[in-house]
């Protein structure tokens, strides 16, 4: 049951991923990408990470994709009129295939050593995923977490300045 569900979701994710690349209209690409993100959120739930799934939907599918769609509409981007040269498409595809091939090769070769941490499904159910993530963020990863706020601040300032009328 679970594996059938997984393969269905995986197929949807891959197909919508391919659509992102192949669609001529950027809006279509963006909507396909939202579909992919939802599939990934489903995977996160299957992987006992409900908080990450929620974040995925809110941040990616919600915030970032809305921003992208907004920009597409703002700039009124037309469909690509001139296709890229076929040799560029072929070489890019070849590279992509190589990447896939190598990654799979890695998976064949690689070996997993099994569970090394203490987190499991029972623990997530017992104390809640949010609490686990929160504890990790505010204890072990406090400094990176705080630095992240600086990164976001810099991004806000950068975005405001870049998007001003005159550069």
């Amino acid at each position: 049951m679970e594996s059938i569900f997984f393969f269905v979701v995986a197929a949807v994710a891959v197909i919508s991923g391919i659509l992102v690349v192949t669609c001529k209209n950027p809006i279509n690409s963006a909507l396909s990408l939202v579909m992919t993100f939802f599939c990934l959120a489903t995977f996160y739930v299957m992987l006992d990470a409900p908080f990450m799934a929620v974040t995925q939907v809110i941040v990616y599918a919600g915030a970032i994709m809305v921003l992208i769609v907004f920009v597409i509409m703002l700039l009124n981007v037309k469909t690509e009129t001139v296709k890229r040269g076929s040799h560029a498409v072929i070489s890019g595809t070849v590279i992509g295939v190589f990447v896939l091939f190598q990654t799979c090769w890695f998976l064949m070769k690689g070996s997993m050593t099994g569970q090394v941490g203490v987190m499991d499904k029972a623990m997530v159910v017992k104390s809640g995923h949010v609490e686990l993530i929160g504890k990790a963020l505010f204890t072990d990863f406090l400094l990176p977490f705080e630095i992240t706020s600086l990164l976001l601040l810099a991004a806000i300032i950068g975005a405001v300045i870049l998007a001003k009328k005159k550069i």
């Binding site: 890019g92 590279i95 190598q102 090769w105």
Partner: protein, 670 residues
């Protein structure tokens, strides 16, 4: 006073700095000339103090070394900046600073109104500084610094009138020929240092240390090589065959420069160097013979050329070459003291002669200038009868001429006769002695002839100037004649410092000793002892023979004078007839035996052709070709590589992805 020896070269250096940096701003000639002259006078005073102190010490202890600082220290090699004071350097100090001061004084008058007045005095002071470094340096390297320094100053001063092409060429010629000699000097230095170090573990170039280890040097062999190398250096600097041709050309410089550098001081550096290293030279009979032969040949050869020159300074230049030949003859027969003695007296009378000729040229120049004539003021054929117009110049010039001709009682007689006697009686060269003496005596006769020819053509007879120009001739100012008077007095009495033993015993019963020889004895003590122990003995000594030779040389000199009188005063038509009878001979002598042309043909032109080949064949084609070729290859390759840099983001992204694939691939398949 010894402690202040460093002041001697320092004063002229200060003069160089002041005149060199601010001379252009000062403008006032009296201040510039005054600073330069005072600087040399300061050195002269210190030298006098050192001489007095040296005389107050017992003979054996008359040496002093003052090290200022260590200049180079590298492994076993060590060179100090230090000064060596002993009788030899003291004599040289007196000559250099004394004559140097007088000539500085003279230059103030002579160079009056010249463009670049400050430049002249800067160079002159720099020269004095280098020369003092040369004669007081306590090691070979410091001596070499001075040696190069005087060569540089000589070049600068010969080319003083650089807008004249001939002057520039003469400067270059002097520089290049000196460099040839300097190369020999360096080879000698290296060989000596290497030999003493590697064979006897004596790593030193200090003169006194070398002298104290002189016993380690073998007779002949490597020492011959070392001494010959050094002698090549001496032939370059002191204008001996084969490197003498630069000196006559050096007369392109201002006349006081000729007097100071090309007569009194720099050209005697080679003699000084051999005297300084007598302990090495005495070990190589071969080198001594070479030096004696070169010296005698130069003396005779240059004298023959001197008989046919018409330029007053050229005659004196060949005379200088000839007299330097005498000094080398003295060195070559082991009579180091006599050589230094002749060096000193020659400095007096030749400086006097040059300055006198300068005074004549000065007057001639002004006289011809009034007439707007472009006749050569240095050509003796334009002169004549100057005696009445320039009495002081005439008398001082005459005294110096008598001195150089070797008339008894004057300085040149004592020193030249000493050399001739040593050439005849020395224990070194056996049968060759007669030849050496004969060459020397012939040169002495020729010297007397051409010097009096010079005097007769210049000062006697009827003037060959126009009446108007003759009217404008006048005696030179005081600053010019004062040095002449002092130098004439020295040419007259300077010889009494070294009166030969026979004369002293005959006239005063030995009460009037040979001061200079005794003074210099400690310096040459090693050589004297070496000769005494090596069984050569004293050579043949005979009072009667010495008297005979002396009389002979005086007779030859008088004969030369009489011949000159006969040809140029009594029967002035004869020289023309002689020229007409032997046209080939005259042309050869007049053209200096075509030595310059032979050198041009044998050495200069092949060198030029080879250099041209290296330039056009090697440099332009191969070196430039390689350089340009490398550039072209790089340019071509980068032109190809340029296409990789498309400036399109996509292509960079593609390269990056490809790079990732390749790196991961390597990681996978390793």
């Amino acid at each position: 006073m010894f402690e202040y020896v460093w002041l001697i070269p320092l004063f002229p250096l200060i003069g160089v700095v002041i005149n060199g940096l601010f001379g252009k701003k000062i403008k006032n000639e009296m201040i510039i000339g005054g600073i330069a002259s005072l600087a040399v006078f300061g050195s002269f005073l210190v030298s006098c103090g050192i001489l007095v102190q040296l005389l107050g010490m017992p003979g054996e202890e008359r040496h002093f070394e003052k090290t200022i600082f260590t200049w180079i220290q590298s492994g076993t090699f060590k060179a100090d900046v230090g000064f060596l004071i002993d009788p030899l350097s003291c004599v040289m100090l007196m000559v250099v600073t004394g004559a140097g001061f007088l000539i500085h004084l003279y230059s103030i008058g002579y160079m009056h109104g010249e463009e670049g007045f400050y430049r002249y005095f800067t160079y002159l002071n720099l020269f004095v500084f280098s020369m003092l470094l040369l004669v007081t340096g306590n090691n070979l390297l410091l001596m070499f610094v001075g040696w190069e320094g005087v060569g540089l100053c000589s070049y600068l001063l010969i080319g003083y009138y650089f807008h004249k092409k001939s002057a520039g060429d003469a400067g270059k010629k002097a520089f290049v020929m000196n460099r040839v000699g300097d190369f020999g000097f360096l080879l000698g230095l290296f060989t000596l240092f290497w030999y003493m170090g590697s064979t006897h573990n004596v790593w030193t170039i200090n003169f006194r240390e070398l002298a104290s280890h002189a016993d380690m040097l073998p007779v002949g062999g490597v020492v011959t090589a070392i001494t010959l190398f050094f002698f090549i250096g001496a032939t370059g600097k002191s204008a001996q065959i084969p490197l003498y041709t630069w000196l006559p050309d050096a007369m392109e410089g201002p006349t006081p420069v000729s007097a100071l550098i090309h007569a009194a001081t720099m050209v005697t550096a080679g003699v000084y160097m051999i005297a300084r290293m007598n302990f090495i030279y005495i070990k190589s009979p071969t080198t001594l013979l070479v030096i004696a032969c070169v010296g005698a040949a130069t003396a005779l050869f240059a004298a023959t050329i001197g008989t046919a020159q018409n330029d007053i300074k050229r005659v004196l230049a060949y005379s200088t070459v000839s007299q330097l030949g005498y000094m080398f003859l003295a060195m070559g027969v082991g009579a180091f003291g006599a050589g230094v003695f002749h060096l000193m007296t020659h400095a007096f009378f030749k400086a006097c002669l040059f300055l006198g000729s300068g005074s004549v040229i000065h007057a001639m120049h002004h006289a011809l200038h009034h007439e707007h004539s472009d006749a050569d003021p240095q050509d003796m054929r334009n002169m004549g009868g100057l005696r009445k117009k320039m009495p002081i110049t005439f008398w001082t010039f005459l005294i110096a001429t008598i001195a150089i001709a070797g008339i008894p009682g004057f300085a040149g007689f004592f020193s030249k006769d000493e050399i001739l006697w040593q050439a005849f009686s020395n224990p070194h060269h056996g049968e060759m002695n007669i030849v050496l003496w004969l060459a020397g005596a012939c040169a002495a006769g020729l010297t007397a002839f051409y010097m009096f020819r010079l005097v007769f053509m210049t000062f006697f007879g009827k003037t060959r100037l126009s009446d108007k120009a003759y009217h404008h001739l006048h005696e030179s100012p005081f600053v010019i004649v004062f040095p002449l008077i002092v130098l004439a007095a020295l040419s007259m009495f300077g010889g009494y410092l070294g009166v030969p033993k026979v004369l002293s015993e005959f006239f005063t019963g030995g009460a009037f000793p040979n001061y200079l020889e005794h003074f210099l004895d400690p310096v040459f003590a090693y050589s004297t002892n070496f000769m005494a122990h090596s069984g050569h003995g004293e050579g043949h000594h005979s009072v009667a023979l010495e008297w005979g030779l002396m009389g002979g040389s005086v007779l030859i000199a008088c004969g030369g004078i009489a011949f000159a009188w006969a040809l140029y005063i009594a029967y002035p038509a004869i020289p023309g007839r002689i020229v007409a009878t032997f046209p080939v001979l005259h042309r050869a002598v007049y053209n200096k035996w075509y030595v310059d042309e032979i050198y041009d043909f044998m050495i200069v032109n092949p060198c030029k052709a080879f250099s041209n080949f290296l330039w056009k064949g090697f440099d332009v084609v191969i070196v430039d070709g390689v350089v340009n070729g490398v550039a072209a290859v790089v340019r071509g390759l980068s032109g190809l590589l340029r296409h990789v840099q498309t400036g399109l983001v996509h292509n960079y992204a593609f390269s990056m992805a490809l790079g990732v694939v390749v790196i991961v691939g390597c990681y996978l398949f390793r």
